[in-house]
């Protein structure tokens, strides 16, 4: 067992434990998730931009993790440019919608 192996195990354990702690605190509502899918400053309206960004995030994450899980040899698996375009578009839609809502609210006030 070399120091490199020990360090690798430590990092992996830390990342997994930290991710599990964050997930646990989200499920037990210790991490505030109120308004995650709502429009800014309005808790009652669900924001389509946020929903599609969440879906795109989950899809890209799942794709990349499946690529890592099925990795055999070679370099680190890459993500296809299609997914990057989808994800960039999704982020752009989210940002535009947020800017639009902010502009509308500033105009009404």
């Amino acid at each position: 067992m070399t120091p490199g192996h020990i360090l690798h195990l430590e990092l992996l354990g830390f990342i997994y434990c930290f991710a599990a702690l964050v997930a646990f605190q989200i499920f037990t509502r210790r991490i505030n998730m109120v308004g995650l899918l709502s429009q800014m400053g309005n808790d009652t309206n669900v924001s389509p931009g946020r929903v599609q960004l969440l879906l795109a995030t989950i899809a890209v994450s799942a794709t990349y993790l499946s690529a890592v899980a099925s990795w055999k040899s070679g370099s680190v698996p890459d993500i296809s440019s299609n997914w990057i375009h989808i994800f960039g578009g999704s982020g752009g839609i989210y940002a535009i919608e947020k800017a639009w809502v902010a502009w509308k609210q500033s105009k009404s006030t």
Binding site: P3, H5, I6, L7, H8, E10, L11, L12, G13, F14, I15, Y16, F18, A19, L21, V22, Q25, T28, R29, R30, I31, N32, M33, V34, G35, L36, L37, S38, M40, G41, D43, S47, L53, L54, T57, V60, S61, Y64, L65, V68, W71, S73, S75, V76, P77, D78, I79, W83, I84, F87, G88, G91, Y94, A95, K98, A99, A102, Q105, S106, T109
Partner: protein, 228 residues
């Protein structure tokens, strides 16, 4: 020199592991507060923060899982696609933050609005959880103390019973001593009476002998010699 380097590497590994454990423990105990990990300044959760959090975990886990399988071992080159993905995610977060803070009136947390109330509710929930955990610990400690008290009470009862038995035994022994003493007194009295009776009988026998002997001399020394 190589051994010194190895020892230093092991010490560094131990230090980093210890640091990681402390951080995880403090997060678990709530001393490092993650309540606003994905929240904006106005208390509402931010989708861009949440997305950046997810991607950070996904890419970190993916690369760390692959590092050990790589041949030759080493830090692998990160593909451009992954870097682009992280860049888009971070840019979305930065743009969202910029838009939010460009409207200061929207970012002020107010206790009267729903977001503020929800934040207060979250804080109260967190504090209630901490209090609940403390109450659980106190209950466990009280149970342990109750167990000890029960043990002490049982021991005290045992000691009390033993003392009572010793007292009974002592009383019984005292009774026996009294009885033995009375018996000894009776025996002593009987012996005294027997001695007196024996002396009387001897005296009577002597008197009878003197009365029957015509040559009886009144000299007590002769009498005594004749008895002998």
């Amino acid at each position: 020199m190589t051994h010194v380097m190895e020892v230093c590497a092991f010490i560094g590994c131990g230090f980093l592991g210890f640091l990681a454990l402390i951080i995880l423990w403090k997060v678990f105990k709530g001393e490092i507060n993650l309540n606003s990990l994905v929240s904006e300044a106005n208390g509402e959760a931010s989708m861009s923060r949440f997305q950046l959090l997810i991607f950070t975990f996904v890419v970190a886990i993916g690369i760390l899982e692959l590092i050990d399988k790589m041949n030759p071992a080493g830090f692998p080159p990160i593909p451009d696609g992954v870097l682009t993905l992280l860049g888009i995610s971070a840019s979305t977060y930065a743009v969202g933050k910029g838009i939010s803070y460009s409207q200061p009136q929207l970012m002020k947390p107010t206790p009267t609005d729903a977001g503020g109330a929800q934040q207060a509710a979250q804080d109260a929930t967190t504090q209630a959880d901490v209090a609940l955990a403390a109450a659980d610990q106190a209950t466990a400690a009280a149970s342990a103390i109750a167990g000890h008290v029960e043990t002490i009470k049982t021991s005290a009862d045992d000691a009390k019973n033993a003392a009572k038995a010793a007292q009974d035994a002592s009383a019984a022994a005292a009774g026996h001593v009294e009885t033995i003493k009375a018996s000894a007194d009776d025996a002593k009295n009987a012996a005294v009476a027997a001695l007196a009776a024996a002396a009387a009988a001897t005296a009577a026998k002597t008197a009878t002998g003197n009365a029957n002997d015509p040559n009886n001399s009144p000299d007590p020394g002769t009498e005594t010699g004749g008895q002998q």
